[in-house]
Structures are given as C-alpha cells and as structure tokens.
Symmetry: D2
Subunit: 354 residues, 4 copies
C-alpha cells in the first residue's frame, strides 16, 4: 500500500519530537520532511535536536536534513503536514499549506474554535471530520488537535454526557512540565514549588471540550450547552496532566458502580471498526485503588493514548460526581492524537468518504 | 511576669519540632517538658531528634531530657500541654491530662468535631474559646487546632461569609509533603509524580471549616450551613498547602475588586486588641500577580501565619468566585495556630475571663 | 526444554518486584514461589505488593499466593532461589536453602567478600562461577550479586585493567533513591537536597570491585591489587547511579580515543557465546556528548543492563583518566545481574560444566 | 559616616537580586543605581524583576528606575560598581568603568586569572587586595569575586595548606540549579535527573583556588603549586554547592581529630579585626553527623557566608584526606563575597591603606 508522505513542522520541540517518534516507522505514513528554526536548518535532525525522549531516535530519521518552514513551502512532494508551531507562526504557515492544497493536522491553538474546522478527539467526535467537506475556501484541508487538558477532559466527559447528561463542570488541573515544552519552565521556578497559573490555558479548557462534545448545526459545530469552570496549575511532574473534576449530572446516577459502568461500557464511535493503529483498545482505564491515577505510574496505558480515571465519588443526591482523570499530555494530549487524526483521515480518504 | 510552664508531647515529629522552635524563647511560655517514643526517652532532645527545620535548635532546649508520655503524666509542675500525637494515642493521653487538670492545646484529630470542644482558628472564631466554660466533666480544659487545610480554607472563607454569604464550596488541594510528617511520603512515591489522595483528609476539610465558621447553639457549636466538596492531593512541595477554591456566593459581588476589598478590609475579631505575639499583622495577603501564590515564594508571610490569596476571578453573574489560597501547613496549619491558641487562652485567663 | 522452577524471596520490595518482572515470562525459568513478610503472607501477590514499576504485572504472577520464607523452606519443588532480603535475614534463610540443596542467587550483602563464594558480574568474571566446584560444605550452591555501585564500576574498570592496568581509583557516586528500596528515603529528606552518605556503601564499593576483578588463588579469589577511595551520596533521582571516576593508569594512554577504543573493543569473556537472554549486546555504551551520561536519559540501554560512559578526559601525562559512568541500579545493579547469573548457571549446568 | 554610593549592574538576575538584597540597608553602602537589559530599562525595579528570593524586596529599592549599562556609564555620582554580567558584556562595561575611575567589584569571570587583579576570598587572601596598588594603567580599581565552587573549595583548603601542605586535590561537585541563574536549567532537563557537565566550570575550579591560595611574586600572584582535578555536575537542588574532596597532604595528619582542629582553629587573616559586617564569625562549620553537610539544611550558616564540612576521613597512611564541603553558591559563592570584598576595600580605603 502506498504511504502518505508527511512532514513535521517544528520537529525539534517536544511535541515535534514525539511526532517524529510516532511517525518514524508508521505503516500508513512516510516521514519525509522536518522543519526547524533558521538556526537549525541545514543540519541533520540528529545534530540539531536535543532529543529528550526515551524512545530511540531511528537511524534514518536522524539523518534527515532540517528545512525552515519557508523552504518546505517550496516543496510539493508531500501530502500531510503535522504542525507543532507557536500559534502565531502556525497561522501564517498553515494558511500557505492550505493554499498549496496540503492536508494539515495542526497541534497549534489558532482557529481551534472555528466552527467549520474540526477539533478532533477521534473516539469522541470522529464524525466532526465531515466538516472537511465544507472547507471550500482553500484547496487543502485542516484538522485541529485539541489542547492537551481538553483532550483528556473531553474523553472523560463523553460517556457521562451520553448516559446522564452534564449540567456543569468544575475542574482544577495539575499539569506536567512538558506541557510548556522543552524549556518552558525553568527549574528554579518549580523545584519545591507549583505555579497556579498557565497562560491562556483556562480559556481553552473552558471552551474546547464543549466544541469537541458539540453537535452539527447550521453554522458548523454547535458547542455542548454546559459551563466549565477551570483552574489550571503547573506541578513538578514530567509527563501526565492530572485533573480533579466535579460534574453536576443532569440525571442522577444510582451509584459509583453505575458511573464505572458508564466509563467502561461506553461504545465509542465507529472508529473502532477502522482499526487505526494508534487507537487504544481501551480509551478509558478505570482505577479502583484509592490513590490512583498517578502520573508516573499511570501515564503509560495504551502507549499513552488511554486516559485513566479514579477516585470516583458520588454525593448523596446522586447528581454531584467527582473524579480524577489523568492522561499523557504529549501523546493523548498532542502528538498521539494528531497521528490518530491523520490515520482517521487517511482511512476515510482511501474509502472515498472524504 | 510569670510564664506558663508548658510541655510538648510528640516533640521529635515535624509538628513537634515546630512547637519546640516556636516555644523555645516565648515571652509567655517556658518549655519544660518534651516527650517522645519509648525508643528516644531518656536521651537528650538534641540527640534523639532528626532536626529538619532551618530554625536553629536552641542550646538549652537541646539539652532537655525526653520523657515518655507516661512519665510526663506523673509530673504535676506544668500548666499547658501541646500535643502532636497520632490521634489514637492522643485520645488516651489527652483524657489523662484533662483528669489531671491540665490545659491541653491539641493538634490531633480526635474530638475535633465535638460541639463542646472549641476548634480554634483564632482570627476567625476566637469567641468559640468560651466553650471552655461548659467543659465541666473533667478538671482540665481542651482546645483543638484545626486540620491544616481547614485552617487555611476557613481563614479565607470568613470575610466572604460575612460580606456575601456562602452557599457552596468546591475545593481541590495540592498539599505539601510535610503534611504527612517527617517520613510519611517516601521519595520513590512522589518524585516526578503526585498522589491524588490523602487518607481521611477530605472528610476533615468538608467538616472542620463549617464548625470553625459555625455559631453558638443550644448544643454547642452549630456548623455553618453550606456544603464543601473537597478533593485532596499530595504534590512534591516541602511546605505550603495550595487550595484551588470555587465559592458560590449567596449575594452577588460586583467585581473582583470588591472581593479583594472584602479580604483586605475584613475586621478580624477582637484578638487584634490582645496583641498576641504569634498573631500576624495581616492574616490575609492578597497577591495581584497572575501566577501567585506559590508555595516556595509565599509561605513565608507573617512568619508563616498569614495566608496568601491570588487568582481571584468572578464569573459574569457575580456569584461564582474562584481563587487560590496558600498557607504554611506546619505553622498556620498546625504548630503556629496551636501557639496562638495558647496565647489567647493565657491572655484571657490572666484577665479572668476563662 | 524443561524450565528451572524458581522462587523469589522478598518479592514485594523494589528489587523483588524487578526480579518478578524479569522472571514472569522467562524462557529458562518458571516463577513458582514468592515470599514476603508475615503481614503479606497468604495474600495474592497482586493484593500485597505496592507495584511501582512501569513494567506491567503479569496476570498469573499477580495471582500467586505469598508465602513466608519459613513456609517456603518446607517446600521442595523448586530449583533456584533468588533472594532480595535484608542481609541479616538472608544469612539465616540462605543457610537453610543451602542445606536443602538449593541453588541460591543472592542479592543480599552477607558473605559477598567470602573468597569461595563467587561475586559475579558475568561479563567481567563469569569464570569465577567455577568456585562453585569447591562449595562442598553444604548441599546447595550460592552465588552473589554485587552491590549496585560496584557492579557498574567494575564493568567500567575491566577494559581499563586489561589494556592499561589500574593503579588507583577515586570515585564519588550520585546514587538513585531506588537504591534504598521502596521507602528508604523519605521525601522530606531529599527534595531540594542531597545526602552525602549511604550507610555501609563505601566499604562495599572499596572492596567488591577488587574481588570481582580479582583472580583465582590458593585461597579462593585474590582481589585485584589496587586501592579504591569512594565517597557515596544520595541524590533526588529515581533510577540510575552516576559515578564520577578518576583512575590512575599503570601504563599511559595516548589519547582519549585510545580509551574509547578500550571501552568499545574490549572482548568480554566467553559468556557472549552462550547467548544468555539477559546479556546486553553492548555492555558499555560510550557517549560522546559533553553532557552525558544522564540517569533519566541513559539508564535504558540494553534494557537497563548496559552501562554508559562519558566525559572521558585524560590528563597531559596520559596516566590520569577521568570519566563518568552510569548504570541502572535495579537492573544492572541488582535484579538484572541476578537473572543473568542464573542464566549463566543454568546454561553451564545443562552443559554439565557445573 | 558617609556611605559609598553603589551601583549593581545586572540587577534583575539571580546574583543581581542577592546583591540588591544585601545592599538594601547596608551601613557602609547606599544603593543608588541598578541596571538591566534594554527591555527592562525605564521600568521600576519592582516591575521588571522576577523576584525569587525569600528576602523581602525593600520598598524604596523596588522604586528605583532601571538604567541600561550605557546610561549608567554617563553618570558620575557613584563610587562602587558591583557587576553581575555575562563575562563578554562585563569585559566591555568594566573597562569603561575603570576608565571612569570607578571601583569595580566584579562577579564576572573575565580577567579572574590576571595575576595583577586580585581574586578575593577575603578570609583566605585579603592581603591580595594590595595588588590594587599596582593597578595603574587605568584610573579605577578592580577586584574579582571567585567562581562559586572555587570560593567554597579554597576556603576549605586554606587551613589544610597551612597546617599540612597540599600535594594534590581531586574534587567532584554537585552544584545547585541557581548556579546557572534564574532560567539556566530548564526543569525538563533536571527533574529525576542530573547533568554531569557544566560548561567552563572545571577549568575555573582547577585554576582559581590555586590563585586564591597563591602568593605574591614578581609577576603578581604566583599560584599555589598543587594540581586540582575537577569534575563538576548539576543536581536538582536550589541553592548550595556540595563538593566531594580528596586531598593528598604533604605532611601526614595523625587523626581526623587533628584535621577537625585544623579547620576549627585556623586563625583567619586579620580581616577579623576589621569587623566587616558580612564576615561570618565562623567561616568553617565542622559537622560531626555522618550524613552532613546537606544543602537544604546547612546552606544557612553565617547567613550563607559560612561553609560547612563533614564526612572527614583520613586513610591509614595519614596522607589521604577526604571530606565533603558545602556552601551557598549565591552568597559565599557570589554576592555575599562580593559585598565582603567591597567592605574590605571600603575599610582599608578609609584607613588610607589603599
């Protein structure tokens, strides 16, 4: 089978590295281009990157010559561009990629709330991909990867919304250092400390899950109709965002057992039938131990694509639910979901559905 | 002036060490007895303690011989006992101290919710100390120090309750390692990690603040009539509990500025007039920077007796308030408040009011 | 092929867990017994263990009922005992296992310096296993796993000894928390800190490598004739001991390049021919980047069985060599080497050589 | 008494902040100018600085308007300039300050090894200040603060050199994050990790202590005649450099007790008679506990100006000494020593000796 030829833009950053790692030997994609800043362009990837993952950097990919984004834009021989760029830069580059007719899978935050651009967390809202059919004002197609915290939260909310309905969500997050990239959080600011603020994050967490959980309307995606109140903090953890969630349910639940069933028995949408390689067999792992999930121990499930949920508690009225949810912010929250989106696109495209 | 002669029970633990530090050269108290486990009894304090504070251990106090609790119970020549014992042990020992007629200032969790035992966070509810007048079934008097998280939370809620009324509180905490004592959290469990559970903590946080903020009734203290939903977690921070709080206000606030005023201008109860040495000049410090309070930077105010509040956000309706509050768990949350309680008692006792 | 039936003693500890993980689906060994303290005995392994590894605990092994060591000693139907017990307890239990005729692979520190008991770091001194032939005062056979730091150090010294000779070794270690077991280092003692002392460690590091690098003599193993000066410290790292080494060489080296060649081209003893499953293809990885090896990035090579060496510097005289060596203390420094020893034994036993 | 008017160049960095803190209410100095980068110039110090110290930032100093270095160079009304600039920038700025006739106390690494520029660790080599008399090729005077690690090491070596003589020094350091400044070490690189390399550091540590311990010669300072072999590493500790030292003594010591006496009874040079405010009463604190010094517990002595030494071990021959020494890298290793140097200068200048 012919592989799609793919490029990773912003390949030396942390999310970029994970994209590279996941795409290095992927059966649907062939990694052909990598871009980085001017300073690194011209060097081989191996020389320029400060490789921080435990995944081994593959021999051939290490040899790829880095381009600037501008240089890449002069090339035609690739199909899909994965972007992991700062959002301002992304806005310019992605516009040009779309003019060129490329398929863009973007991890950047620009345009995420545009009602005609699918913001995909595939197990939750794979069908939103059909928004691509109305993307007619440019030659290419663009799909957005949700913000890390939103990807994890929305996955946990989906079974609840379907079974009980959701009236309100209150969430406090404890987010990993890697969420700020390779050099985002200086160690002097975080050892023996935490920072109760992440710039721009709360607005994303209060909006993106509602779009992901939204439905088709006349004007594109109509966000789900509940409110989210978020407080986001940074803690000294390398990988894995932890979220303390309180949900006011629309319909009462009878017991925590019923909630656990909702999480476990949820029938995720039909992407399961597509056997996408990056889709985890169980998107949600329920942890029954009192003191779980913990980032260092539980961020690994489903190769980082499963979230884990624990501390499920229901109040006496049955309508106030609390739980703690954890997911790998770089995989489920960024590059992993990006690759899953591309797999979904590729599969549907092959079937002629998109 | 004559000093009260005081004992610290459980003096080698972390809270015990802080009691010792605060009482070493106190103008109202003379430290005469220290107790520890059988294994340490007989040794000098300096030899037995694994002194972990940056406060210097005073020369003479280091020389005090350690007693077991049993040995202390045979001594008469002291007035006040500060206890920092596990609650089961505390229950037995405190009973005996009360039979002996001692004044007990207890940091242990037993009996905290007893409506006739004052649970004191002096700036908030110093008047609850008059419950002592109805403690007639034993010769002594006993006052309880609140749970660390509850002390911090209730101090932040008091101005809100007075100005706006409180309908509901939802709180997620990020608690310091020291809250579990010297050896409570093994490093292998917490480096690059957090633990979303602290045994017994949530029940305390959901109840103690309501008693502290409660009022006198026929059956002792009547708890305040709002609900608290707590999720408590442990993070890799040495000192300082951080709490992400959402409060549904009874009366709408107009602006965050009004909230800030409420925190800053609250007239704390009359203990200010008593000039107690451990009372901070400002119980609440409002931080205006976006990324504060942070435990390592802000746990120091008022020698650890002030809490700091930041990230004050009000929703559009004016009735949903969010903020982050931080306090030193060992000082405001334990030994410091214990000493302040004893100062309050001593002063009122001298004035013949108790 | 028939598998050896094996037991792990002290299976709930950290080294015990790693033994369990490595032996769960091993082609030469079948895990049949696990022991733990009285408190855990009778429970299933899954229930009793505080599983902290990222390796998944296998379904069937999780179901194994825990025995006490005493109960195990009444069983006959196993061949090899892997011990991960405190050394005093080990002394008693291992004596009994030997009387029973069992083969003991011991990670405990008792008897390590006995000249007739092989202290094996197989790539370095597999031939010392023939000491077993003179173990005639009991029915069983016993082999010792070196102290973690010594295993790593001796592996790095072997090529140098062969090529240049070693006159003196000065080493300062920065050892991981896991070296003290699951609960050995409380977090309050090590966050924002290091501890420049590890009980009993320096004596081991100054002696064990000399035995490992020693030769057969009339009285068993004769230690290598150079002195080691060790300073051992504990740092806030989860896994991976880092050692800063200075070696005075007997014969001058010409260049760091010659040293690198010595490390890379060393022909390890014939165990390579045995194709033991746990033997790494490259026992030593030379890192050329200035800032490597680093524990979090480099502890992973050879599934934790390879050590990595960097910062190789030679003084102008060519006889003072400095380098930094790193190895996984739980795998190369304990359970991994234990399993490799057992594989060596099993293979030679099958061939009738032991 | 008239105060010297002083400027701090590079005031928003970590060392700059500590200079500001130490000079804010100093009886000999009045802080009048602060400089920072172009980006911050014009702002008030309080607004521009990311104040990370626990020392409170004084009200008036917070109000000082920041200048660029260029703007400062147009001002005449100050006497002493404390520089905490990158060395390349320092080279330019310090040259101009010297042309202007200013007294420069420089924490930057340029020119430190110039034999006619005093590299001062005042308790060790206050007399080197008389090199200033031969600084005649420019109008001003310049004195250098040693590299942090060298300041701590040389202080520990001085008593040994005087009593026993030093033949060789081998040192491995474990250095704090703050040594790299506010943002030098990203948290992603150091959590659960250490880095066995610090750029340019080993060369400094191998040379500066020898100059500090050197003597006057025809060509300025003649370095002490022993060799130092250094390996420097970065560990996840906020403040406090720990150094594992092995010293080959020229004359044998009889016992560790004799070494301890040498450390404790050393008569530091006559600066004690000058009663300089920043000079600690005991430059060296000997710790007898096995597991000390530890950075978090022991960096505080003498307000950060004392070093602490522990783990003193002497080999059987009496000529190989090992110990661990610790000091606050920002105070003893930078700003504190800088202020002490300025005090020494000011005092001698007042007495007309310089």
């Amino acid at each position: 089978m012919d592989k799609f030829r793919v490029a990773v833009l912003g390949a030396t950053g942390l999310v970029g590295q994970k994209f590279v790692s996941l795409l290095s030997s992927h059966k649907m994609f062939e990694l052909v281009y990598l871009t980085a800043s001017e300073r690194s362009a011209g060097k081989r990837y191996r020389e320029a990157v400060n490789w921080i993952l435990n995944d081994e950097l593959s021999e051939n990919v290490g040899e790829i010559r880095l381009y600037t984004n501008e240089e890449l834009l002069t090339r035609r021989d690739f199909d899909i561009a994965f972007t992991a760029l700062p959002s301002e830069e992304a806005e310019v580059v992605e516009s040009k990629l779309l003019e060129m007719g490329k398929v863009v899978v973007s991890n950047s935050s620009n345009w995420r709330m545009d009602p005609f651009i699918p913001l995909l967390n595939p197990e939750v809202n794979a069908d939103h991909i059909y928004l691509l059919r109305s993307q007619n004002n440019f030659k290419g197609k663009i799909m957005k990867v949700p913000n890390c915290t939103s990807a994890i939260l929305s996955l946990s909310l989906k079974p609840l919304m379907n079974r009980f309905g959701v009236r309100k969500v209150i969430v406090t997050t404890m987010q990993a250092l890697s969420g700020a990239g390779l050099t985002g959080v200086p160690s002097m600011f975080i050892v023996d400390n935490l920072i109760p603020y992440i710039q721009g994050e709360e607005e994303k967490v209060e909006n993106e899950p509602r779009k992901i959980l939204g439905s088709f309307g006349l004007k594109g995606i109509q966000p789900a109709g509940f409110e989210i109140f978020a407080t986001t903090t940074r803690v000294p953890v390398l990988y894995g965002h932890t979220e303390s969630v309180l949900v006011e349910l629309r319909d009462k639940a009878e017991s925590t057992e019923e909630i656990i069933q909702a999480f476990r028995d949820h029938s995720w949408n039909k992407i399961a039938d597509l056997s996408l390689p990056t889709a985890p067999s169980e998107p949600i792992i329920v942890k029954k131990e009192n003191d779980r999930p913990q980032p260092r121990l539980d961020r690994v499930y489903g190769n980082g694509m499963s979230i884990s949920i624990g501390r499920i508690r229901l109040d006496l009225t049955g309508s106030v639910l609390r739980y703690v949810v954890l997911g790998d912010n770089i995989i489920r929250g960024a590059a992993g979901t990006g690759v899953l989106i591309a797999e979904l696109y590729a599969e549907l495209n092959k079937k002629g559905k998109i």
